[in-house]
């Protein structure tokens, strides 16, 4: 029996007020409950989620590259194993998120195609290169640290599958940040050259990591709606502020200097005052003009293209096995 899909695009008739479906959606959001895949939802809610979850998934997948770059050159077998585990986690996080996005009616292939065609966005942070081993420390400490700060509130996102994916991701992510911190700490306890390498790396990653929270609140047009829908729980600036508050004491333990001369405690407000973020750079990188955009996308495209024969061969083999087990004849059209 075929049951028709949920008609999620029923517009409420203005005369009759809200449709019962929309009323139910609003009630669920007001009660801070969860929306599940087959529930009616406003088209804009669905689109916002598809955009956000798929961008998030793409970020995890592209995010494998800056660290994958160091797997063969990690300084010890232990570090190599840790880095492999971390990169494997990131692949996993991408897959959890793609699955969550698929429940909204987009296919995995559509998302992959959009990414490799350069039509989809991912976090601008992954368009920076990772030339030194200390970058593995900075990525873990600053980049994963910022990601965790962003992601913990997303565990309570109103869309059920997204929240559940985020719970799993957050559990796994905490090792990422700690191992990064440990890499930097080891370097800071090392030779002068190692300390300089750690500091130079922190200098490069600090500002891009702060940009990961997105543009300032007064320049973030979608934020207010996302907060009304309980997708987003805190504003970009709030999360950024919270992150800096956590970084300062951690930087003291490490003995690194955060590269912001205007960073100082504001007794009155109870938060750290920060210097101006270079939003021109943020927008440039987002528009594809960052130091590694082209390289990252080309790498992903190549991996997808080079893997095509494997995907197709596996699918053909599966069809052949299915036919063999049911005893049906395998025709040319069946394998085509």
């Amino acid at each position: 029996m075929t049951i028709p899909p949920v008609p999620y695009d029923i517009a409420p008739s203005p005369a009759a007020g809200l449709s019962p479906e929309e009323q139910q959606f609003n009630d669920l959001i007001a009660a801070d409950s969860r929306i599940e895949p087959r529930d009616w939802m406003p088209e804009a809610y669905r689109k916002t989620l598809i955009r956000q979850i798929s961008q998030h998934a793409h970020s995890e997948i592209i995010g494998m590259q800056p660290e994958g770059n160091w797997i063969t050159r990690a300084p010890s077998l232990k570090r190599k194993a840790i880095l492999l585990a971390k990169v494997q986690d990131e692949a996993g996080h991408g897959l959890y998120l793609y699955s969550a996005a698929q429940t909204l009616g987009i296919t995995r292939d559509e998302m992959t195609d959009a990414l490799i065609a350069g039509k989809a966005r991912y976090s601008s942070i992954f368009n920076y290169p990772s030339p030194t081993w200390a970058d593995m420390g900075s990525i873990g400490w600053l980049v994963d640290g910022a990601a965790i700060c962003n992601q913990v509130p997303l565990c309570r996102a109103s869309y059920g599958p997204y929240g559940r994916a985020m719970v799993r991701i957050c559990k796994e992510e905490s090792f990422h940040q700690r191992q990064g911190f440990e890499i930097l700490l080891e370097l800071m306890n090392g030779t002068d050259d190692q300390r300089a390498m750690a500091q130079e790396s922190v200098n490069r990653w600090y500002w891009p990591a702060l940009q990961m929270f997105g543009p300032p609140d007064d320049d973030s047009p979608n934020s207010a709606q996302s907060m009304k829908w309980n997708i987003k729980r805190f504003s970009n600036d709030e999360l950024r502020q919270r992150f800096v508050g956590m970084l300062v004491p951690q930087a003291e333990v490490l003995g690194v200097t955060l590269p912001d001369p205007d960073l100082r405690w504001n007794e009155e407000k109870g938060v750290y005052d920060m210097g101006e973020i270079d939003w021109t750079e943020f927008h440039e990188v987002l528009q594809g003009r960052g130091p590694a955009n082209a390289r990252r996308l080309q790498r992903r495209r190549d991996a997808h293209e080079n893997g095509r024969w494997v995907r197709e061969a596996a699918a053909a083999y599966a069809r052949k096995q299915a036919h063999a087990s049911t005893g049906t004849a395998l025709t040319e059209t069946a394998v085509a």
């Binding site: 699955s99 698929q102 296919t107 995995r108 559940r164």
Partner: protein
């Protein structure tokens, strides 16, 4: 209607994954993945959902093979238990204070 997320348009079908976290506990749905066949679905599920000893047993089910309740009829479909609070122990209050009841 099959589980959400399945599409006939994709090269590899979608599988729903269920993991038994330890002996004595039933398999619980943990998520989904794409795989060309059941053997690879189990293998991928191990790599994707049990990287940290989360399970001792895995089930994979083609998402297409799952039949769900009609999402449009959810109210009516689950109506029958409503108003039947005599099915819960808390309905019976007269035994309050009596031991072992």
């Amino acid at each position: 209607m099959s589980a959400p997320g399945a599409s006939e348009k994709e090269v590899w079908p979608l599988w729903e994954v269920f993991v038994r976290s330890s002996r004595g506990i039933s398999h619980t749905h943990v998520g989904s993945l794409h795989a060309p066949d059941a053997t690879l679905a189990v293998r991928n599920a191990r790599d994707l959902y049990t990287r940290r000893n989360e399970g001792v047993s895995i089930w994979v089910v083609p998402a297409e093979a799952i039949t769900t309740s009609d999402p449009d009829a959810k109210g009516a479909f689950f109506e029958s238990p409503a108003g039947k609070n005599y099915r819960h122990a808390s309905y019976y209050s007269k035994s309050e204070g009596v031991k072992h009841l």
